[in-house]
Assembly symmetry: C2
DNA sequence: ACCGTAGTACGTCGGTTATCGTACTAGCGC
DNA sequence: GCGCTAGTACGATAACCGACGTACTACGGT
């Protein structure tokens, strides 16, 4: 089972991903923004934590990415000095079909309604 | 705009319903259970707070129903000594199409996966 | 008028969260 | 090796949250 060494981060197995945790992870504006950004990337593409400019400190950024990873929403891997992130689309779509898309669509509608 | 008198509870207008607040409201197991219960009722049917047996104190129950109401997930109205609840299906489906159904479906799958 | 049922208000308590700053480590390129 | 960039670890802090108990109100029935 998922073992975390120095440069090997701990991710929940698909079976261990809890809906409540996913919803909670998505219920923070900052994290929803991260997810929206990752979802906007070309399929399979990944991005560094620094690729999106949240307006908070580095440590806060680290924190939000960790919450997303521990909830099972994203995968994080080290690549050289960067830590790359991508959505766990396949896992999430299998576990909770339509959830990610529906939430992203809801988010889009909300911001089109002039946030 | 929504005015709350003694027996008239305060509900957010549809435009004021925030996705983050809805997701947060749904991210608690107790509240998700309430929503699942209300969603299982025949269309337009409503239920008293006491109709579902959460295993917590009355005050905690009140608390969770209030969070759901303030997030815009449910409507609460007083009917005699009871306080009746129902899902704001129409509003939610208009604002965030498919969201409620997708979350409920995800919840069903999760509990079928042997909770 | 009294009682029972349904739910509220309020204060508390312990745990979690979001934020920060500071000090640190890991890898890359020169 | 040096320094830059990217991110971590840790500790602090303030806010929030879920749970509780107790004391209360409101309504309906007898």
């Amino acid at each position: 089972m998922s073992l975390a060494t120095a440069r090997n981060l701990d991710h929940p197995e698909p079976e261990a991903i809890r809906l409540e945790a996913v919803l909670h992870a998505l219920s923070d504006p900052m994290r929803l923004r991260i997810v929206r950004f990752l979802a906007s990337l070309p399929l399979g593409e990944e991005a560094a934590c620094s690729a999106i400019d949240l307006v908070v400190s580095k440590s806060t950024t680290t924190h939000h990415f960790r919450v997303l990873r521990e909830a099972g929403v994203i995968v994080q891997v080290y690549r050289g000095t960067a830590k790359m992130n991508r959505l766990r689309r396949e896992d999430l779509d299998t576990l909770f079909p339509g959830l990610v898309d529906t939430v992203l669509d809801a988010d889009t509608r909300q911001r089109e309604r002039a946030d």
